[in-house]
Every structure is written in structure tokens, then in C-alpha cells.
Amino acid sequence: MGERGRSPILAAAGVGRTYPVRGGSVRALDDVSLALWPGEILGVVGRSGAGKSTLARLLLGLERPDEGTVTYAGRELTSLVARDARRMRRAVQAVFQDPTASLDPRQSVGTIVAEALAVHNLAPRRSRRERSRELLAEVGLPGEDAFLARLPRELSGGERQRVAIARALASRPEALILDEPVSALDVSVRGQVLNLLLLLQRRTGMAMLVIAHDVLLVARLCTRVLVLSAGRVVEEGPAARVLTRPTGPATAELLAAARWLAAGEPGAAG
């Protein structure tokens, strides 16, 4: 990635973030640098508390770093003028782990998607419903009125996450940040949602940054991977290399646990 003449969509340079806790502070991120290049699927793996979700919030501009800079298309997020900030919010979208929490329980599917179109001023009122149907079709959901009228609790977990993806696609983003996108879903529907992401990426060419603790999933989904441990980037490179021949102890630990859990065999071996 990163050949001459291209620039990253999102980049972090020397980013640090410290949270106050009772009796001290926690260093959530420490001197983290990364770039998300057009068209790539970048995986960010690490244990709970390694800083993965903090990194996602910084890249989305939901939080500011204490040190370092986060840039969108080369411009620092904190210094974007109103018009550029709007453009960035359209260009970088997010999908979170638990669609139950990220979808308004009182809004129908149709309203959720139409509102995303309205917020970004992407479709005139009269064509919003038609455009919503197209977006739902893109994520493999039916577009008939009965489905548009459903509330989130009337959907399966997989359907809810597809609605969250459709909402994120409304603004035709350049980049999608996905924080544990399938870990709240049933095992038998995870594959469908992951394949949807892969196919959307291939069709639209948008970049994806996928945060997950399951390295086997990341190994299959991502082109490049970055390993976080205790707030620092400890390893980075092509997924095929990092997640088969790790060079650091943090990566090796993640990989060993994932292999052990996946093997499903008994006893002391493994």
C-alpha cells in the first residue's frame, strides 16, 4: 500500500490519549501512528483494554488526542472548517459491535436509513424512500414497505447489523470503521455479514478499518494488520505474514489463544 501519488484517507501521527481514573490515570494510547489507505482492509487487533476502541473514536473525531494529530485527507480533524468537517463526516462512517445499542429502538428501519440521507442532505425528501430501498438492497435486505416499517427489536441480530451498515453506506463513504462488527452476532450468521463487507469493499473500493480481537477472522478478512498492546502499536504488516509468523509476544499470544480456542479438541495438547 501507499504507493507514490496516493495519500491516506485517515492518518494518525504520534497519537496519545490518557484517561483520568480514581487515584491516577490510564494511558489508553501511546505514540500511535497509522494510515488507512484507499481500498484496503486494515485490521486492528489486540486484547481488551489495548486501546482499539479509543483509536476508533479518535479516527472518527469523536474524541481528541492529548498528543499527536489525526488527519483526514491530509487535514487535521481539529482544524477542519465547517464545510470540510461535514465532508469528513460523510466520508468516514462507522459500524459498532452492538446494533441494538447503535440503532434508535423507536425508529423504523425506513426512518433510520432515510434520516442518514437527510442528515447528510444526500437525497431530496421525495426520493429518500426510493434511495433507502436501494441501500437496503445493497446489504441484502428486502425493500418492501412491511420491512421498512419494522422496528429494530423486530429484526434478527444479523438484520440489525445490516441496517447499521446500510445507514453507514448512505453517504457513500470513502472509509468505514468497524468496531467488532460481528462479535455480537450468532455464529451461523457471522459469515454472511463478513462476506457482505468483503463484497461491498470489492464493489465500491472503499477502505475499511476493522477492529477485532479474533485474529483468525482478521487474517481472513484483512489485507494489512496492526497489533495494539497496552496502547502501543507493537507489530504491523501484511495480515498473511503478521498472523502466521508473528515477531512479537503480544501477537504470538493472541494467535496462540485463537488457535487453541478454534481447535475444539480436548486436553492438554495445543
Binding site: 486484547r47 450468532d186 478478512l221 475444539g264
Partner: protein
């Protein structure tokens, strides 16, 4: 000797808003022999958590048992007196629930919560309780057990909280440990450590284990036998090795095929078509038929019974059972 935990053809319903009942369990059968480790596997809405709760009659207030029986060590649970149930809960069966943050009281110290069952069932008090708390917290692998005993739940990590719950489940020395998705909120490294800890505790204490999870591979690390639930009913019961080597129910086959393995090439993920049906919204035939690659007309018309399939296995599938259809 009867199985220590025995659920037979259990059906449970909840009142629907308005009128009528929604059946959420309809044909759950589970038998855990004394001393064995059993996995109870299934996805959301299959009824695995309700089944676990039913073993000690901890079903939600509005739930109604429509059919079936639940026994602990041969003793009827559904008709038991409240006083006897209290003895069974914690005293005979220890429980670990999925979300440690919800199962622990945020304003009570860890130590007092860990020993609650021992105070209730064994009358342990004062300094004895404090010593017991320390001993239990050390047993579940927490460094500095005295510090942890004086801490509050929010001061601990997710993995530590889950160990605290395990310690409190063991406080009164139960024979059976029921753990409901204890690892699903943890990262993979903590998952592996907790599974290894439960395995050690089971050996050192000679526990009977019922381990409830959506993750078949993880369950395989812990148990000797597996009961697979789908859509409110038991679909397959088999020894772990037999189940992994030769799954008979198409749903079990699909779950195993959907597993990710190390060394998988990048690319599309294995999938199971369709979605898990919502509780109670099941057709007349086999509940997996809409997603099953082998389903034929009969599967959509009639519901297969849970039937023996050789080698002590039972399967709810027309393709797998030994029995012929009555009348051909």
C-alpha cells in the same frame, strides 16, 4: 444412579403482549451424569440460557412451564418447595452468568459477595468468611486475593470479575457448576485462561459441569459430551469426539463448517444461509428445514422426534435416526 441434572421434553412459554402465549422452549432434553462435563450449545433464542435457569427453577416470573420435567439428582425441581430450592441453588448447584458486571452488586465489596452462598448455606461468619473469601479468590487464580476481596467490582477487569463470579459460585461447595456463556464478554486470551481455570477447578473439586455457550469449538475444550439446541429444542446429543468427527444433525454440521481455522486462506467466509428463527415462530415441520441443504418435503411437513442414532447418540433428524417412519 439417575443423571444429576435431568431436563426432559421441557416446554416453556411466555405471555404475549395482548393475549396468547409465545412458546420459547419446546422439546428440550438434557441429561448430565454425575461427574461429567456437558456442553449446552446453541445460538441466540435457542433457549440455552432458559434451560440452564430452569435446572434450579430460576425462570423469569412470567414464564410458564407447559410440559416436561426437571430433576436434580432424581429430585423433582418444578414441584419443589421454595425452601428446598434455596438449598439447591448455590448449595448443590453453583451458577456463573454471562455478564459479570450485571451479576455483581456495584456497591458491595467483592469479598462479601464471594462468601454470600457460604454464609447462607453453611453459616460461615466473620473472620471465617474473610478467610474463605481469600482462599476462594486465590483458588480462581487471582493474585493478591486480600486486595481483591476489599475491592469493588468496577475496580477489576472483565476477566477478574468473571473469576470473582466463579469463586462465589463455588463458595458453598456445590456438586454441579453451571456456567452460562462465562467467556463471551472476554477477549480470546482471557477466554483461553478462563476455560483452563474451569477445567482445573473441575478436576480439583470433582465437579459436574454444565457449560453453556454459542461457541462449539470452545465448548469442545472443556466437555466430554455435547447437547446441541436449535430453536427451542434439543437437536443432537453426542460425545464430543463423535460430534466433531461425525456430526449427524445438519445444524451441527453447519456450525462446524462455519468455524474459522488457523491457516485459512483469505477470502469469503463459510456461511449458513438464512437466520435463526425468532423464538416461537417455528413452522410445523423440522425447525432447521428452511436453512437445511438436505431438507425435502417430509421435513417441511412433519417434525422429527429426538431419536437414538447409535453409539449412545440421539439426533432429531429424519436423515440420521435409526427409526423408520411409522407406517413407512
Amino acid at each position: 444412579m439417575p443423571p444429576i441434572v435431568e431436563v426432559e421434553d421441557l416446554a416453556v412459554a411466555f405471555p404475549k403482549p395482548g393475549a396468547g402465549m409465545r412458546i420459547v422452549l419446546d422439546g428440550v432434553t438434557l441429561a448430565v451424569e454425575d461427574g461429567e462435563a456437558m456442553g449446552l450449545v446453541g445460538e441466540s433464542g435457542c433457549g440455552k440460557s432458559l434451560t440452564a435457569l430452569a435446572t434450579v427453577r430460576l425462570l423469569p416470573q412470567t414464564a410458564r412451564v407447559v410440559r416436561g420435567s426437571v430433576r436434580l439428582g432424581g429430585e423433582d425441581v418444578l414441584g419443589a418447595e421454595e425452601k428446598r430450592l434455596c438449598e439447591l441453588r448455590g448449595g448443590v448447584v453453583g451458577f456463573v452468568f454471562q455478564e459479570p458486571s450485571r451479576a455483581l452488586n456495584p456497591v458491595r465489596s467483592v469479598g462479601s459477595q464471594v462468601t454470600e452462598a457460604a454464609r447462607l448455606h453453611l453459616g460461615v461468619r466473620g473472620g471465617d468468611a474473610a478467610a474463605l473469601a481469600s482462599r476462594l479468590l486465590a483458588e480462581v487464580g487471582l493474585d493478591e486475593p486480600d486486595r481483591v476481596a476489599h475491592a469493588y467490582p468496577h475496580q477489576l477487569s472483565g476477566g477478574e470479575r468473571q473469576r470473582v463470579l466463579l469463586a462465589s459460585a463455588l463458595a458453598a461447595g456445590p456438586r454441579v457448576l453451571i456456567a452460562d456463556e462465562p467467556t463471551s464478554a472476554l477477549d480470546t486470551v482471557s477466554q483461553q485462561r478462563l476455560v483452563e481455570l474451569i477445567r482445573r477447578l473441575r478436576e480439583s473439586r470433582g465437579l459436574t459441569l454444565l457449560f453453556v455457550s454459542h461457541d462449539l469449538a470452545l465448548v469442545g475444550r472443556l466437555v466430554e459430551r455435547v447437547t446441541v439446541l436449535y430453536a427451542g429444542e434439543t437437536v443432537e446429543v453426542a460425545g464430543r469426539d463423535a460430534l466433531f468427527a461425525d456430526p449427524r444433525h445438519p445444524y451441527t454440521q453447519a456450525l462446524l463448517q462455519a468455524r474459522l481455522e488457523s491457516g485459512d486462506a483469505p477470502g469469503l467466509f463459510p456461511t449458513v444461509p438464512g437466520a435463526v428463527p425468532r423464538a416461537g415462530e417455528w413452522g410445523a415441520g423440522c425447525r432447521f428445514a428452511p436453512r437445511c441443504p438436505h431438507a425435502w418435503e417430509r421435513c417441511r411437513r412433519a417434525r422429527p422426534a429426538l431419536a437414538p442414532a447409535g453409539d449412545g447418540r440421539t439426533v432429531r433428524c429424519f436423515l440420521a435416526s435409526d427409526e423408520e417412519e411409522p407406517g413407512g
